[in-house]
């Protein structure tokens, strides 16, 4: 996968969401560049079943379509399989399902994934393996108390091989995070809990890759990239709009979205 695969991920998100007539489009577009960075460079794996692969947890499971797209571009998922998204007897659901090669952990219940990733990171250290654990959280997911249990645990045990992305798009299902339950200062909160915190542009794949490349994932505290993103990034009428958490696209909306994605650099 190359950096330009952000665009291909967005195209697949739109195609599959339209074909299946499902929502969660804005959330998937929000993380398309983070997912491109993770699957393009950061996740070290000789195939989805390599026992020494880095582990990845999509803790914001409702953005699974972005990951399905990346798995396809990575060559781990065929076009035929991808086209079963949200059809009967498919492992490609709205949330990541265990059993699909490339999905290390099924998610969908917010607040679950960081503990899983912390366990994966601790296991690697106990087994003296260079494996890392990566996790992608939503910002509103940090409403869950269990996230902070895992934040404390990872910092206390200095899980340097744990790298977390928080998709800070400022939105949640029914409103803006500042109106629902304020997270400010999000970076400050993670820093106060003892994490190595980096604020990044969540749409700059090269910057995220470079930031992670400079992390000490052998010794020291766990790492979090607070990734500033735009919900629905790349489709003008979705950007920053609450409606596109759940809403599916009409035919006209779909065509406009495709045109905008293709016209983007």
């Amino acid at each position: 996968m190359a950096e330009s695969d952000s665009k291909r991920i967005r195209r697949i998100i739109l195609e599959q969401a339209k074909r299946a007539n499902v929502g969660h489009i804005g959330s998937a577009l929000s993380v398309a560049d983070i997912v491109a960075a993770i699957y393009g460079d950061l996740l070290r794996a000789n195939g989805p079943k390599d026992p020494e692969r880095d582990r990845f947890v999509l803790s914001k499971g409702h953005a699974a379509l972005a990951v399905h797209a990346a798995l396809h571009l990575k060559g781990w998922l065929s076009r035929e399989e991808l086209n079963t998204y949200c059809t009967d007897s498919s492992f490609l659901a709205v949330h990541p399902e265990y059993g699909l090669p490339g999905v290390d952990f099924a998610t969908g219940s917010l607040g679950h994934g960081l503990s899983l990733a912390a366990g994966a990171a601790l296991a690697a250290r106990m087994q003296q393996s260079p494996r890392r654990a990566l996790a992608l959280l939503s910002d509103a997911e940090c409403n869950e108390g269990s996230i902070w249990e895992a934040v404390m645990f990872a910092a206390h045990h200095r899980l340097a091989n744990l790298v977390v992305f928080v998709d800070l798009n400022g939105q949640q299902a029914l409103g803006y995070t500042e109106q629902v339950l304020s997270l400010k200062p999000l970076a400050g909160r993670w820093r106060a809990f003892g994490w190595d915190v980096h604020e990044v542009d969540g749409h700059d794949v090269a910057a995220m890759r470079d930031t992670v490349g400079r992390l000490n994932t052998s010794v020291g505290p766990p790492h979090v990239l607070i990734a500033h993103t735009v919900f629905g990034k790349g489709v003008s009428y979705m950007e920053g709009q609450i409606k596109w958490h759940y809403w599916p696209m009409s035919e006209a909306e779909y065509q406009q979205a495709l045109e905008e994605i293709e016209a983007a650099p």
């Binding site: 582990r55 952990f105 679950h112 899983l116 912390a118 366990g119 994966a120 990171a121 296991a123 106990m126």
Partner: protein, 309 residues
């Protein structure tokens, strides 16, 4: 049972480096044997049971066999969804150990009682559920099951002295253990309250009532064949459990009886009313909720005379 489980686990961990023990900051004067022998594989995660189960799931995916330990409601109820979406969904060998089944933490109040753990665990098809009746059976249950694929819930007691007469530590996955044979009634018990059931059978014998007593420690998989055998033979079965009425042993026996069209009448002895704020010793609470030997004797007499119908 705590010491039996921890001692046995400590021995197993010497043989198998995959075994870990995680606690949610509970087990003072209970877990030290393991912690001293295997410090690198003992982890107090703090008072954070959801994270404990989540971390254990991540460890199990990488090849470990993590045992997570807490008092029943904190082990089984607080992190229940993490158990469901973690080790059960992924079929990973996480072992949930809940101590204090029933009302063993009597003086601590309802927050510490384990009265619906069997019901909620039994509802999940992907987890084995084991509830030993004494420390000897707990040891053998652990030896028989620790290495099985998929998750397991162990509901254990605090008592490491009392033994259930006639049980002799026997355990069989998917089987039940008969303590004594009789002609008039079968008493089926789960967990450490089996001592009350066995004592009640002794008292009933003095009054000329002859009881068969069966201990069920393997809840899932259920001992269906053994239950069918006794339910086919006796006109009356009494189930005894330190658990709420719905979803536990009595429900399991009722399901087997109905599905197999067995004509046996069933009386379920369990905690039937909301637990009040009154605390007390386990023996006081057994008496209050009809689980004591004396109360069980009366219940059997009434049921046999038809008064309980």
């Amino acid at each position: 049972m705590r010491f039996a489980i921890v001692q046995t686990l400590t021995e197993l961990a010497s043989r198998d480096s995959r075994i870990m023990l995680l606690t949610g900051d509970l087990g003072y004067m209970a877990l030290e044997a393991f912690a001293d022998k295997h410090p690198a594989r003992f982890l107090n995660v703090g008072v954070a049971e959801q994270n404990m189960v989540g971390v254990a799931t991540g460890l199990a995916e990488a090849g470990f066999i993590p045992f997570v330990y807490s008092i029943v409601p904190f082990a089984a109820l607080r992190p229940y969804e993490f158990i469901r979406n973690g080790p059960i969904q992924h079929q990973l060998p996480v072992r949930i150990v809940g101590v204090g089944g029933g009302m063993e933490y009597g003086l601590n109040g309802l927050s510490h009682y384990g009265l619906e753990d069997i019901a909620v665990m039994r509802a999940q098809p992907g987890i084995k559920v084991i509830a030993p009746a004494d420390h000897q059976q707990a040891r053998n249950a652990l030896l028989a099951t620790w290495n099985l694929p998929g998750p397991i819930y162990y509901r254990i007691g605090k008592d490491d002295k009392t033994v259930v007469a006639g049980l002799d530590g026997r355990f069989e996955l998917g089987g039940a253990q008969q303590l004594r044979d009789g002609n008039d009634v079968v008493i089926i018990a789960m967990g450490s309250v089996a001592t009350e059931a066995a004592a009640a059978a002794g008292e009933l014998a003095k009054q000329g009532i002859s009881s068969c007593v069966l201990v069920v420690a393997s809840i899932t998989p259920a001992p269906v064949d053994d239950l069918v055998r006794v339910l086919s033979r006796y006109p009356l079965a009494i189930t005894v459990e330190a658990h709420y009425l719905s979803g536990g042993l009595g429900s399991l026996v009722a399901e087997v009886a109905a599905e197999r069209r067995l004509p046996c009448r069933l009386a379920r002895v369990a905690v039937k009313t909301p637990v009040t704020g009154l605390c007390g010793s386990q023996s006081y609470l057994y008496h209050k909720y009809g689980l004591s030997c004396d109360a069980l004797v009366k219940t059997v007499q009434q049921e046999l005379s038809g008064a309980g119908r």
